[in-house]
Symmetry: D3
Subunit: 144 residues, 6 copies
């Protein structure tokens, strides 16, 4: 099994905002990330697919096809957009990097079919802050 990753770029505006909270509580919890006039990021998105390389092509997946899928399902909807206002698959979701990575997983997973499997969504909000989601829904017991 080989893991194949395509890294793409988009930029977007957002703000951290919980609509069930007061303006003051949003400001207190989220600080400058809650600025009502928005802020934004250059996001880097890594989509990792895994599987056995096809004996005829040497590819787990044709990266041009994966790239087209990411463009159609994700980049066309988020690039140069407002994550709170403009993106259908983020409606009603607080646009943290965590929630955005989970939402991107849900958009892409149905379109990546055996013998290839979606393995991971890694999303860089800045070069120093990033998240990863692998479709896991449980907490692994950690050894100390």
């Amino acid at each position: 099994m080989v893991y194949v990753t395509r890294k793409v770029h988009f930029n977007a505006a957002h703000r951290m905002y919980n609509p069930t909270w007061s303006k003051e509580k949003n400001q207190s919890v989220f600080g400058p990330c809650s600025n009502e006039n928005w802020h934004g990021h250059n996001y880097e998105l890594e989509v990792t697919v895994c599987g056995e390389p096809d004996p005829d092509t040497g590819y787990v997946i044709d990266l041009r096809l994966l790239n087209h899928l990411i463009e159609e399902k994700i980049l066309n909807k988020v690039d140069h957009r407002n994550l709170n206002l403009d993106v259908d698959f983020m409606q009603g979701i607080i646009p943290s990097s965590e929630n955005l990575a989970i939402a991107i997983w849900k958009e892409l997973a149905p379109h990546i079919t055996p013998p290839a499997f979606l393995y991971s969504i890694r999303l860089f909000e800045t070069p120093r802050n990033f998240v990863e989601y692998k479709g896991e829904t449980y907490i692994i017991t950690k050894q100390d």
Copy 2:
């Protein structure tokens, strides 16, 4: 003479928009960069100062002082903000990278004093698009 550079990071929302134009003309000229719900970037800002190293310290400028100056005059005003709405020194200015670099120069230049000189403002809007401003106000005749 030595050139000394400090590189800092901020993120902000903006949109390209000329208020003297119709919505349609803004859309036509600026495309997705004019999205009315904003988009945003992780900006990287390089401030370069030049001068002779001080014989007692080996420094052209104490980078901690330069860093504090950039934080006070620039980062506190633009980080996690909207460049069109929130930034005093960008009022009435279309927030292209070019205009933002010139505006940052104007904010910093009065505070960098001999024997150090402000030499360059380099601003990365994305890792692939960046501008540089050196305070020049004329076009150099270029040889072919």
Copy 3:
């Protein structure tokens, strides 16, 4: 479950030196890394925490809190310091990247509490040499 990473920077001096060995053996085993007048690095440290995003905030952990924790427990003790001489949690430990990563894990783990879990310490000694520690204390049987 989502994995959230904060990347920070510090620089420090160190030397590879086993005090139970002769100077010659240290020189023979560690080569220039054992230079008695020290050498140093710009370290990049990635701290990864995992957990479920909080429904109210969308965060696994507030990265500002994680950042403050890393500053207080690690950066204040190692930045611009000598890893062999100045750092309490490295006393008596050979300051290889491996041992430093394990020691950083031990410093941070008690302070990262459910529902968030410390998942990984990744430490870059140079852009081309890095280590990762996940708190594992056993060898996984590897298939060939």
Copy 4:
């Protein structure tokens, strides 16, 4: 257990080409990657080894030894070469990144001996396309 990674660089020419197919089918499946006059890449190769740090040295493996091994077994054979024509361990193998990563694993694995274990080969064909191979020969059942 600690994971230790050494990152190295090489450049090489290749083309994607299945000799059992017609020229037209190669062109159709692989597109410009099948250009008969070759193209090439700056590859970045990350070799990860895992194990317990040696109490006497603090090292899982001496990175100079790992580096020499990579140079002798891999870089001397692929750097400034043609992956289709010049490399003994790629004879008869379509030089996709996937297949190259598997082949590099097979070359290195016999030479990394307990108490250290080869854990992963990560190969960047470009900064935006990369693969990873961990010696796994089965598909893990993925939860949705």
Copy 5:
């Protein structure tokens, strides 16, 4: 005056080879760069244009137009190609980075028209080797 840079990526095969020399002399002068089965690189190309920002747009040049120009005149001809065999504007030219940068300047300069001026072509052959050409045809007298 502001300097605006667009950075793009391509990959290509080449070999260093002077057709007026013997095989032995080529091997002696160019070493592994002269491998007769080619090698290749991921090139990064920075194109810098300078001028005054347009008062109506804030742009020195619309980067989408500059990007389209670079794609049409350069990337379509060099990406996934052999610089010695496939590229019309490199016919009869030894494909060093120096010569390639000069040739790219000559291809682009006629198409960048006032009030914008082509200022620099910077070409990275690897992350550690790069060249820059600014259209200068003379040697500046250097002070010691």
Copy 6:
């Protein structure tokens, strides 16, 4: 004329310390950079040479020769060393990045001979702090 750059890496320990000052004044001026047990950095050094490409080779300078020169004259003396104690060409010089860049220029300049010229020494102390020296000994009058 083309500018050709080779980028190399070294790591070293240093401290900012003026021996004509008291311990307190050193601490006050240099802060943690003056830590008496040293600290250190991964330095990145860019050496830029300019000239006309040789018609027979396409090279301004053979980068392997430039690389060997940098290794012999600089890297062998500074890598894994203490800049205050171990480096002959830094004796009696406060090891700021500014002074180190000037000293490296002085070491290399006599060995780079026409038709190639040493053009610039750029030294990164960290990814966010760097200096450049071009052999200039005067202050250019700057327009406001």
